[in-house]
Amino acid sequence: MNTPVETHGLTKRYGTAVAVDGLDISVQAGEVYGFLGPNGAGKTTTLRMLLGLVRPTTGTLRLLGREPGPRSLDRVGALIEGPAFYPYLSARTNLRVLADHAGVGRSRVDAVLETVSLTDRARDRYATYSLGMKQRLGLAAALLKEPELLILDEPTNGLDPAGMADMRGTIRQLAAEGCTVLLSSHLLVEVEQICHRVGVIDHGRLVAEATVAELRSGGVLRVVAHPVEQARIRLRALLGAALVRGEGDVLELDVDTGQAARINAELVGAGISVSELGWREPDLEQTFLALTGGVHDAD
């Protein structure tokens, strides 16, 4: 099976500004891939390049094994940078127009309206829609071609909590049905909830690509001991000063979980009372901030 999304050295420059810088990403079939980054990191430019809206300066990309071009979009659905439709047309007519552009039968229109629960409002003009309904219509348009690959650019932007939950539920359902999803977001909680793997982009560069679990690995061992200064001296001697941090009664050790028993025995053996020894995983936000140098647009 072809890799749904594959880029090598993908770069986009606007004059001297580099929007995307040598990006290598690979989205595997059937997964929900989170494309995470602060605003202005290059997420939307990357997605626009994938869809052929923006021409890469250098680098290559393939969608479902195909070079860029109309044929590469045969089984690709997309919602880029918010929904955009003809305001004077109804939702149904908008979708019929797009079905004609896509070369799919108009019979798909009612099916996708049903999928996004807009059948009851299908005859209303798009201009009268709420933001949540517009987003759902955007998703409906993305589903017209029964896509194998769905590219969604911040699909929950502007939605209320219920709308966000609905949208995430729909994405999960599509993924469960075998659709590969590439989802850009700056909402960490969204990525954490629905993505299998995450690529973190910052200043146009991919700074990490891993599963959510892998991104959250590398936690710290928290130690509460008395007397704490004696414990600090003992642990610095044992592990090295660089691995022992913390202030007050709590020490934080940058070690792996396998060393916990040994550390406990060392402290107890030295007559130091250990009242708490626990593992603390970092949350995705901390990892994100560390990877993106503290640029924080994430919720």
Binding site: R48, L53, G77, Y86, Y88, L98, D100
Partner: protein, 273 residues
């Protein structure tokens, strides 16, 4: 391709602004071609076209009366139509929605040009129908014979009108793609068509020979020459026998091709931001 044309036709046919343009074109054509000259017949004078005389309003002059508005206001409305067909995709930010559905930019561009041509054909037919009715009314009121032009003359007149309006609409398409907007292309297009073009022909051309020569290659004067050759009343703004009708048609067709090719080339090579 056919489904893309159908999509474009639906977009334009359901848009009230497009029909408003058509209504305005009809109203202006009837107003300046029939109402004002008719009032002029009854003694009022001074208004543009008020001195044309009865002959220009009778059925056998219907081709010239229909084409008289092409070099100026009908051309301007055709330009606005072209801008709306393409520029609105920038205004509504719908290029990304359309192109993400798979069609190539070349296909969508071609579908838009076909739609523009269909729209201008409808417009010309509507103008001919309305001027035919108006001339029949004038002939009845003034007890004049109903001598209609022959079918070949009507076909040539309609074709010429279609050519000129499509050329102006194609300029609107080009301006919209170039400026990636709606308002600025309409503004600049109208300034050129209604102001600069008239200043060149009425002020610069009589005093500067090289401007007079350049005029012979410009789209407006050639459209005016084509209209004049087919019977548009002399003295109508923009209408003048600066070149022959054949050359006028050839130059207008040349501009139509150039505007279409350049707008397609620009759309193909530029990013959709």
């Amino acid at each position: 391709m056919l489904t893309n044309v159908r999509a474009e036709l639906v977009k334009q046919a359901r848009r009230p602004a497009i029909w408003l343009l058509l209504v305005i074109a009809v109203v202006l054509t009837i107003t300046f071609g029939y109402v004002i000259p008719f009032v002029g017949l009854n003694g009022a004078s001074g208004a543009p076209g008020s001195g044309r005389g009865l002959a220009s309003m009778l059925p056998d002059a219907v081709v010239g009366s229909t084409l008289a508005g092409l070099p100026v206001f009908v051309g301007a409305l055709a330009l606005v139509f072209g801008v709306l067909v393409v520029g609105s995709e920038y205004g509504f930010e719908t290029w990304k929605t359309v192109l993400a559905q798979r069609p190539s930019r070349e296909t969508v561009h071609a579908a838009k040009l076909v739609t523009v041509a269909a729209g201008t054909l409808l417009g010309i037919l509507a103008l001919f129908a309305s001027t035919a009715v108006a001339s029949a009314v004038v002939a009845s009121v003034k007890d004049q014979p109903m001598n209609w032009p022959g079918v070949p003359d009507l076909l040539i007149g309609a074709s010429a009108g279609w050519l000129v309006t499509t050329m102006w609409a194609a300029l609107g398409v080009l301006l919209a793609v170039w400026l990636r907007a709606v308002a600025l292309p309409i503004g600049l297009g109208l300034v050129w068509l209604l102001a600069v073009q008239n200043l060149l022909s009425s002020v610069a051309s009589p005093s500067l020979e090289w401007v007079a020569q350049v005029q012979k290659a410009m789209p407006g004067p050639n459209a005016g020459a084509l209209a004049a050759a087919l019977g548009a009343p002399s003295g109508t703004p923009g209408v003048g026998e600066i070149v022959g009708g054949g050359q006028g048609a050839a130059v207008v067709a040349g501009y139509l091709v150039v505007f279409g090719v350049v707008s397609g080339w620009l759309l193909r090579r530029r990013d959709i931001a």
